[in-house]
Symmetry: C2
Subunit: 364 residues, 2 copies
């Protein structure tokens, strides 16, 4: 967290679906140098769970979640661009969220945190660029949930960003994705240790979030990838003989390892708020249809990129978004990659994503 910077928003921050936050904080990181009055600035909105630490830097040498995308000579070239990544409002990596202290009560918000909307997360990003003195952005980028946030940013603040890159995202969630996320939240809420959101963050619920993360992993990858990767390979570590219903197969230990890594890292209440915000977001509300919403975008160019094996943010939704953006943004490009790693491909199939992002950043 040594590279993390903070913006404190003075006064009442009005939430999209009602309520206020008192002087919330937005955490962010930056890479590269501002040039030409900030015309080289890129703003990144993340998926549900990452922090603002998208890449390493001299201040923090640990690898970031998009390490192979951001850096000297990489598609988001730190020699050319000034790159900002914000930690979403409502998250737990420095930005104000349900686990933060409410200055008005001096107690944690917990479930008194107002309903979170991606519109609020977008506004949090705006507060960062305002604090940095930026009037313009070269490009706004959003991955997964962040793609919805980026759409909201570009329609709430239409005169700021010249370009938009939407990665493995959509204009609004379909019922399949809502069902998955609703079930994940229920797994967390049914954990007795969640205790209606009132738990010690140092001794948080583990079982519910672990189940939710396993379901997450199932939807972040693809059946095809696992067919190739695991097939019916047996577990390599010692199986617990007391549990005849679990642990014979490699795919089960893979899920367990991922779930263990995640829990303890991400706060349960933050997860509930951000997950629900993803369900509730509907870009079409900007005028009543996808066409009317896209007509409000003032961009010089846009890139919508996704992968065919993604079943959480399916590619047909991304094509639909690109088709509608192209009605008002002449230079709109839609790229469908045939990566097999599903929704997570933008994090792990860098050889497929890098050339597309590079080409857009160099030519558009």
């Amino acid at each position: 967290m040594k590279a993390t910077k903070f913006v404190k928003i003075d006064g009442k921050f009005k939430m999209h679906r009602g309520g206020y936050l008192e002087s919330p904080i937005i955490a962010y990181e930056t890479w590269g140098e501002l040039k030409n009055n900030g015309e080289n600035a890129i703003l990144i909105f993340t998926g549900l769970s990452p922090s603002a630490h998208a890449s390493s830097s001299s201040l923090d040498a640990t690898s970031g979640w998009w390490e192979d995308m951001i850096g000297s000579g990489l598609p988001l070239d730190t020699d050319r661009f000034f790159i900002i990544c914000v930690n979403s409002l409502g998250s737990c990596f420095g930005s104000t969220g349900p686990n933060s202290i409410d200055p008005l009560t001096e107690d944690r918000y917990k479930l008194s945190f107002p309903v979170l909307s991606l519109e609020d997360v977008a506004k949090g990003g705006y507060e960062v660029i305002k604090a940095l003195g930026l009037k313009k952005l070269h490009t706004t980028i959003g991955c997964s949930m962040g793609g919805m946030t980026a759409l909201s940013f570009c329609v709430q603040f239409p005169d700021i960003s010249e370009r938009l890159i939407s990665i493995s995202s959509s204009a609004r969630a379909l019922p399949f994705s809502i069902a998955i996320r609703s079930l994940q939240r229920e797994m967390i809420k049914r954990d007795p240790r969640w205790n209606n959101g009132d738990y010690d963050p140092k001794d948080p619920p583990v079982m519910g979030p672990r189940l939710a993360r396993k379901l997450g992993m199932i939807t972040y990858r693809s059946a095809r990838e696992w067919e190739i990767r695991f097939a019916r390979e047996r577990n390599t570590f010692e199986k617990d003989d007391n549990d005849q219903f679990y642990g014979d197969f490699a795919v089960e230990s893979y899920l367990q390892n991922h779930a263990e890594k995640f829990t303890g890292q991400f706060d349960a209440n933050c997860y509930l708020y951000l997950s629900r915000a993803s369900d509730l977001f509907d870009f079409n509300e900007n005028g009543g249809s996808l066409s009317s919403a896209c007509a409000k975008l003032k961009l010089s160019s846009a890139l919508v990129i996704g992968v065919e094996s993604d079943f959480l943010f399916p590619i047909h939704q991304q094509k639909e978004l690109a088709d509608h953006i192209s009605e008002s943004v002449n230079k709109t490009k839609f790229v469908s990659l045939d990566c097999i790693k599903g929704h997570d491909s933008f994090l792990v199939e860098m050889d497929a994503f890098r050339p597309v992002i590079s080409e857009f950043m160099e030519n558009e």
Copy 2:
């Protein structure tokens, strides 16, 4: 249950993966009349959760799970065929399962029930036809998990069935399906009221099985169906204002209704055993490959039918199975239906399934 009949298997019933059951019982139902030495007999193996009550009859007028497939003038024509449906060994609708009393201890088996394999379920079906005095079967039919059971039946008892119909099934589970089922089982096991399998069946765990059923429903249908059916339709019943993370969307109440219907009906321990049996089954173990396994089938004809939107038993696996069966069974037909209701289509898209089953029953 008035139409349910029972076969008691005298003595020790040896289980495929070790252990014995003492004089287990297999429940079944029949429709139609035996003719020509039983050459008109059809044996049906069910999916994981249905009972033997596949259709109504004069003994039990309630609708069965395949009501529109079995009856006078229907594809499984009770004027022509004698139809038997067995309740799987390990289930809870009359057949011996983990919730039954072990005659040796006079206590419920619970987790002392030996590891269940679909090979055992198939053998249970064999005991029924033996008790009925049948030497031959016109057709063996298996749906979903029952399709794997039917494969096992046809390879364990190769001289009995003339024909095979495999519906929305496969030769063995892929890691995606194993991951889903493993997570469902974990949801049940993490329910404190499951209590390591030691609960009063009249006061069973509810929360874990309900979560597992919701995940089941998500994988039994398809994203496309829900996109058309629910889109982002809001909940019609009153939302619980105390839960801001749940209940805004119609798809959420749909899942809740289905989960409530299911729990209380199906026993948690039975679910764990049958679910794991589905993971463990591997038809390729009959000789080491799908080719060698299929070469052991002695059938005059076979039909493998599935739907494109099924992601629990994906169609490419079903095509692969049909391709390999066709190496040893000349008259093998593969039918891929473009139903959008996913894995459950064989239960709900009867207008698509009936003509295919009819055609096979009339001509093969």
